[in-house]
Amino acid sequence: MYSLPTDSSAAFSLVNDTPLAAVNAVVLAFTPDGGSIYYQIPPGLTLRVGGRWTPGRETDQHQALAHQGAAVTDQGAMISWDRPDDCAAPKRLPWGKAPHKDDEPAVLAWDRPPVKHTDNVIPWGDAPDKAAPPLAAAWDKPPAQDTEPVDLLYDKPPARDLDKPGRWRSTTLPTPELLATSDYLIPDPLVISLGGDYRLPDPGVPDQPVSIALGQVAEAVAAEPLRIPADRPYRLPWGQPHRNNDDYGLAWGWGHSKFRKDARWRLQYPDTDDPIYKLPEPGDDPIEQDTIIMANLITVTRVSDGLPLAVHDIRIDLDIDSWAWKFQGTVINQSTLAAIVPSWAGLVDVEVVINGHAWVFMIESYNGATRHGDQRWTIQGVSRTQYMAGPYANTSSYMNAAQVNAHQAAEAVLQYTGFLLDWNYLPGDTTPDWTYPVGSLSYQDRTPLEVLLAIARSAGAVLIPHRDADGWVLQPRLRASPWDLDGAYMNAIVNHGIVTQLGEQYQPAPLFNAAYVSGTNYGQGVSVSRYFTGGDKPAPDLFDQGIVAHDQAKERARQIIANSGAHSLVTLTCALPPASTAPGLIEPGDQLEYQAAGETESSGRWRGYVLGVSISAPGSGAVSVNQTARIIRYHEH
């Protein structure tokens, strides 16, 4: 315990072995006053920090020595850099990893300095953390850019130049206040001790508070103008410009004078004002008329090997009641005839293409004669559909032991033959399907085509053979009834401008508006009448053994009514344009519209059904190709 002396003065000694570098003054005054001792208010302890690591004074020698010891350790490491181990030299890179002990902060004597006088020392706490990273970083790995110089690309710009820079935002800008206080970090915790047993000499007021303020006199930092970044404009990606094709450059230069080469050519200038000759009086305005120029292309080849054949005077025919196209031509040399005559291998198929329309025929026969200086044979052919009829097809007998649809029965006839039947070839206006009861479909020694015709004709349908495929289209003889023809789909529209010849033959015939169609042993009798007519003009009753169903009989009756009445057979001749140009190829079974100058029937517009067509290409070479369609017009419906 400390006791105040009785004298009026007393001596105090403050032991201070620890550095108090920043303490300006410590004043302790004890003033006796009436038996009481007053103490002066402890002065404020002002700490001014001017630098973090100012050179230590003498009292800092211990700490300085401690730092010196660490330098010795570092020196040893530096020696190792100068003289690397011989055995390890080839394997070590000169800028390799620093010795392990340098990376260990514990090895360095940067620990808390030894406290010599712990009782009266104001420790400074741990060293600031910011002092350690520079030392460690100095011995770290070399910067990455020093070790990878090969990544620099000199022949093309960096990839980032090719991309548009992304949009960026401004971050929080450093304010002057933050700049003033950010350098100094107050150690936490901050411990200040004024000696071990020291007590303030104030018996009356023990444990007087002592205010110690640590701080930094913040100097006024001149507020720098905020550098508010402006938006950088987008950098356009740049690269090597497109190379112009120099080969297409126009070769320019002096032109050649035609006049100069032709010395005899001279401009004739009349030397008189009078006209050289009298101009004729202008006539009437010419009449503008359209001209259609057809450039026909005909090729005849052998199907097996594409051998070109010299065939002239080609004629191709089909009517609505035939099941095969017919072909006729003239051969004028022996080699062509030898290439297409039937042989032991069978009939020869030839392909005829006229303006894009292709047919395939098998040459059935030829006839002709050879005279001196003239060789000429006429050849005939038919579509390959003839193979399903006599004399090529075998006959068979059949009876349906179960119910079968007509469509199925027709396909069964053609099974394994390679020929196809398109029943529903056209949308709408199709022949209905029906069902044969057991035993109702029976035939004996019939070819497949005879069976197909019997099935088709029982419902008033026809078989239209394909031009260059093996098969038929089964369609109604008249797809749309004559009284519905104005709203029906037209397969071909013929303008009068393309027609070279038009003939018409009127034929009277009775008109019916009702028909009775019945089977004989199967099916039912169906009395069919046309709408809104009352059926007062019935056709003769029709009994057909092949009629077995209601829909079948109804369709057959519709054909009887539709094909009645006075009619005209029109013969229309026009060119044969390609399929992309109207009217294209007019085929039997089509519904055709003829357009004269007007839009009404009185002005020459009418519609009809195509019953047959003939294509003729007389002569050879650049021949003229014409198609002659035979069309039926019904007048009374």
Binding site: D319, S527, S529, D541, L611
Partner: protein, 80 residues
């Protein structure tokens, strides 16, 4: 027999040929002289050759002569 107008030579030729008239009649009596009385579908009485079908059955007649007996089929009507 179909009589549709045609441009096919064979069809035009067959359309001109007589015969092949087929009808189904109802036999009313066998006359015993090789003929039979019958009525057509609309009730018209006719005389046909042949007595092969006994009344009141229906017979198929071809060109005016009884061919075979046929069953009575159901009747229906339709409009087109």
């Amino acid at each position: 027999m179909s009589t549709e107008p045609s441009v096919n030579p064979w069809r035009k030729f067959t359309n001109m040929l007589p015969g092949n008239l087929r009808a189904v009649v109802t036999v009313t009596a066998n006359n015993g002289d090789g003929t039979s009385n019958a009525t057509t579908r609309d009730g018209t009485p006719i005389v046909v050759k042949g007595e092969g079908v006994a009344p009141p059955n229906q017979a198929l007649i071809v060109d005016g002569e009884i061919s075979v007996q046929v069953p009575a089929l159901p009747q229906s009507s339709a409009e087109v």
